[in-house]
């Protein structure tokens, strides 16, 4: 059930981007391309949904305990988002350089799995200041992103952009939360 919910949220982000682009673009060939992309994306997602369903049947109702590795993920994602934001905005190196630097550092110092999560979480720090205005908000978003990574491990596996989709989802959820409480 949890996998299905996260799969739907991830799909919403992917399809949402294409639909918003469809609404913004008025040229016929652009719209045709976007509609075609939505079709092929849909086919790919349906195929992935069957994989997720198979996993749901095989794993049954396994209870997941919070593990030491999960703590590393939460700390890693929080720090990664914060440091990337700092390098991006406070040091002024820009989003791409900040993300690349953190990625190389993570790949050099940590295990491949943790490096992937740190690299992914640094996408949050690539946000503009109109989206994530301060470093504490970047850290908080990184923490939420870590939770989402832990809870959605099997979603979009094997596809590039898995991390980005989860980070976009985290960022939008935190924005929604902050706007509700007017922070």
């Amino acid at each position: 059930m949890k996998r299905t919910i996260f799969f739907l949220l991830y799909s919403l982000v992917s399809i949402g981007i294409l639909i918003l682009a469809l609404m913004n673009n008025t040229l016929l060939h652009s719209r045709i391309f976007l509609l075609t992309a939505i079709l092929f994306l849909g086919v790919g997602l349906i195929n992935h949904f069957y994989e997720i369903s198979k996993l749901n049947k095989e794993s049954g109702k396994e209870k997941r305990n919070f593990a030491k590795d999960d703590l590393k993920i939460l700390i890693g994602s929080t720090l990664s988002a914060t440091i990337t934001w700092y390098i991006n905005h406070e040091m002024g190196y820009g989003a791409v350089v900040a993300n690349g630097f953190i990625g190389i550092l993570a790949a050099t110092l940590f295990t491949p799995k943790l490096a992937g999560i740190i690299y992914t979480a640094s996408f949050i720090g690539m946000s503009s200041q109109t989206i994530i205005a301060t470093m504490p908000i970047a850290g908080f978003t990184g923490f939420i992103a870590g939770m989402i990574i832990i809870l959605s491990k099997d979603i979009y596996v094997g596809f590039g952009g898995k991390g980005g989709t989860s980070m976009a989802l985290s960022t939008q959820l935190v924005r929604l939360f902050l706007s509700i409480f007017r922070i």
């Binding site: 682009a21 391309f33 350089v97 630097f101 503009s128 109109t130 590039g160």
Partner: protein, 132 residues
């Protein structure tokens, strides 16, 4: 120019990650950092090209189970470049936007492969990709 950079970035990341066994994170990070440092110096629209290269490098962080051939990165790079251009006004400033575009490119190509395999038969598609 965006398309060329996207294709090169996707292919380079895939090659570094899977053929040279540097892993997806290090290869994507190398391509991302290099494009962020170099492209703005050589091209007027270098900042945009760096973003496109970054997006394509994320799309190439794939598993060989789903994307076994380097040639597939040409298709993914193409789709990435086009979607990047068409979604410039969507989720502006949101971290993860580029990665989401990468996922769209990957899934779209995967979906297209599924449709072609269904109509052509799996063996014929594999043979065609191998011959290329």
């Amino acid at each position: 120019m965006v398309m060329i950079i996207s294709i090169c970035s996707a292919c380079l990341t895939y090659f570094l990650g899977l053929h040279l066994k540097k892993g997806p994170v290090l290869s994507s990070a190398i391509v991302t950092l290099s494009s962020g440092l170099l492209l703005p110096h050589f091209f007027i629209e270098g900042d945009t090209l760096a973003l496109a290269a970054t997006t394509a490098s994320y799309a190439a962080m794939v598993s060989t189970i789903k994307f076994p051939k380097l040639i597939e990165m040409v298709a993914i790079g193409c789709i990435c470049g086009i979607v990047f251009n068409l979604t410039q006004d969507v989720f502006v400033g949101v971290g993860g936007r580029l990665g989401s575009i990468a996922a769209i490119a990957g899934f779209s190509w995967f979906g297209l492969k599924q449709i072609i395999e269904k109509f052509m038969g799996k063996n014929k598609l594999t043979i065609n990709l191998l011959q290329k």
